[in-house]
Symmetry: C2
Subunit: 401 residues, 2 copies
């Protein structure tokens, strides 16, 4: 196995928190493969890139020779929300869980190494546990500590009900780590509390406590809110190659580096080099193409990614838009023409202020790249396609005044 | 079955609280035997009269034709306190539980009607419950409500730990009522919260909620603190007849009426008549003899009770104390001599103040009756035996000055 310092550098990349780093170091120093666990909800098997931050970290562990278990929390899934108050937590049958697991498998092996992944189900041990066993487990954790969990604390303070079984689910999740003898558990930052319960229970039951490694929540294509289906700022990993390519090209340069850090499997040194190149004048679009090719290539294929790139370029850059799309020539000052004026003068908005509102709304693209900066100026001599929403489009040529 | 109003009168006697009275009325109106439950801890089968308040209420239900289950909480007993922090909650084996149950049975059938009592164990249903079942149950109760239980509230406020399994025990106890389809659950006032959990769970699971009837805690022979072994103010139901008789004779007149109300199976009207007779000049000692004869008769036999009475009387009243016990003649004012002076002058204490301290400590008896009133005066012309503790004793004759 690779030296501990090298492993740590890779494992720390993009991680929110590692508890505790010195313990991880000690475990790695033993030179044996670690057992790495990550739990997944059996109800939501339709993954987007946000979910793959965690999978990417799992993959990094695999590349370093560690053993990874993709744990499906079917035990709690089969109980659902027995109080019936949470409609989003339906009770799943064993068949539904199995079907979801297969859907998961189809998706996650685009990131994980199939050979080094074990898919497991916590019903395997929890299904056999009796009420007495659960009571014994529950004795290892206090009410006060449980009420420190952010959402519980808030609900208790607001006098919104917390059903007692909600205190048992973190205990069950913690016990999973005991049953699996996990060395490391991965999860989103919002899972930190539950992951720490695993540490507590392992210690109480005489095991070496697991390392908790949390990964950040990925921002969606808007660059602001966390990626989520309900916010419609997500990129699903089952989306068609061209769709995925187009959505990725639409993110800001800043977000591109974030995606590189959290989603790319390229070595950190390569990313640093790419960043330097952009700082030295390389067109950020070309760096973004690299990101698109890697990610679309992963979820489809290299060929499909290359084809998506050609389609993207020909559609936006080479002007293969509607055959009869006329070119609007606008006269342009030496320091370029501001985006608001371009939209107005090309007839895509009734006024400059309307044009700027459209920019604010994220409705404006230039050669497919979303423009969010009202101050953006395009240089004299350039020619490009401007789109406003889906239907208003114009080819513009800026002639120096 | 007897009319509801008549039954209610008997069942309300001495009860602390009935929740809810109108529901009990409705249940009784149906004219069918009710299923009455009372739970007992499997760890402490050595009963004293304090425990029999509840048993007496159970017996009253039996006399009225209802079905009574003496439920031994062996499920939780066999778990003990798994956090290991509570040494008073040892883990019991199945054999120990069985042995304790037999000890219980020997004792409780002195009060309960054996023919109409079912002894049951909650391991019968809880032993089969799996962790999922317990989670479903726990979903029916909220953390906030559980934290309203007095001891939990106090411990939480004081930042003393409450282990999560402690929240599950009331749930288990409540589920017992569901499994048994209990119509009524009896318990001490300190059990009220747990009994109400039974109501909640029954309602949540579609049953008619049980009636909760709480009985007061019985004061010990000191008349102040609740009867308990550790305070040494108890009368064990397995104590020898003479011992029990003597201890009962030592209680105050006021406490005698309390014991009558809570422990006697005599009809309420008879007690009222006895009370009237004492008010009209009957010697309260004779009323106390009645109480002693009933209770000692119950735990031993009528003959044994009568023999204990004879022994008591000959020992204390007829002076059959050590043959050579000298009579100390004391001169006495017309309005009697105060107890402190009697003790001092009979040589049973070094000073009057020491004598009064001994009265305060409950160490002083006159003809076997414990004296707790420092002001107590004994009349001129009387003759009696004064005891201080176990060893200091004197026969005193008060001669008018």
């Amino acid at each position: 196995m690779r030296p501990t310092t090298e492993q740590l550098e890779i494992l720390q990349r993009g991680a929110s928190e590692i508890l505790k780093l010195d313990e991880l170091e000690k475990k790695l120093d033993r030179g044996k493969p670690l057992h790495v666990k990550a739990g997944f909800d059996p109800t939501a098997p339709d993954l987007h890139l946000g979910h793959t931050v965690l999978l990417t970290k799992m993959r990094q562990f695999q590349e370093l020779g560690h053993r990874v278990t993709f744990l499906i929390g079917d035990f709690t899934g089969m109980i659902g929300d027995p109080s019936g108050k949470n409609a989003t937590r339906p009770t799943l049958t064993r068949e539904e869980v199995q079907a979801n697991a297969e859907t998961y498998a189809q998706q996650v092996f685009k990131v994980l190494d199939r050979e080094r992944t074990q898919i497991d189900f916590n019903s395997r041990w929890m299904g056999d546990m009796d009420a007495a066993g659960l009571i014994r487990l529950a004795s290892q954790y206090t009410v006060a500590r449980m009420l420190e969990r952010d959402d519980f604390k808030k609900r208790y303070a607001d006098e919104r009900p917390i059903a007692i079984h909600e205190f048992l689910y973190p205990i069950v999740q913690g016990y999973d780590s005991v049953a699996m003898k996990a060395d490391v558990e991965l999860g989103g930052t919002d899972q930190k509390f539950n992951l720490l319960v695993g540490r507590t229970l392992q210690q109480a039951l005489g095991q070496e406590p697991q390392i908790v490694l949390t990964t950040p929540l990925l921002e969606g294509t808007d660059g602001v809110q966390k990626m989520s289906k309900s916010l419609d700022n997500y990129i699903g990993i089952a989306e068609p190659a061209e769709e995925m390519f187009g959505k990725l090209m639409s993110i800001s340069d800043e977000l591109m580096w974030r995606y590189f850090e959290l989603l790319s499997l390229r070595p950190t040194a390569e990313l640093a080099a790419l960043k330097d190149a952009v700082a030295d004048g390389m067109n950020p679009r070309d760096a973004k193409f690299e990101l698109c090719l890697e990610l679309v290539g992963r979820y489809h294929s290299k060929d499909a990614a290359a084809a998506a790139q050609s389609a993207f370029q020909s559609r936006f850059a080479q002007g293969q838009l509607p055959e009869d799309l006329p070119t609007t020539a606008l006269s342009c000052p030496a320091d370029g023409l501001a985006i608001g004026h371009i939209i107005k003068q090309a007839g895509l908005a009734g006024s400059t202020s309307e044009a700027l509102r459209l920019v604010d709304q994220g409705a404006v693209r230039v050669d497919g790249e979303r423009i969010s900066d009202r101050q953006r100026r395009l240089p004299a001599g350039s020619e490009f396609v401007v789109q406003v929403g889906k239907r208003r489009v114009a080819r513009v040529a800026l002639a120096a005044e």
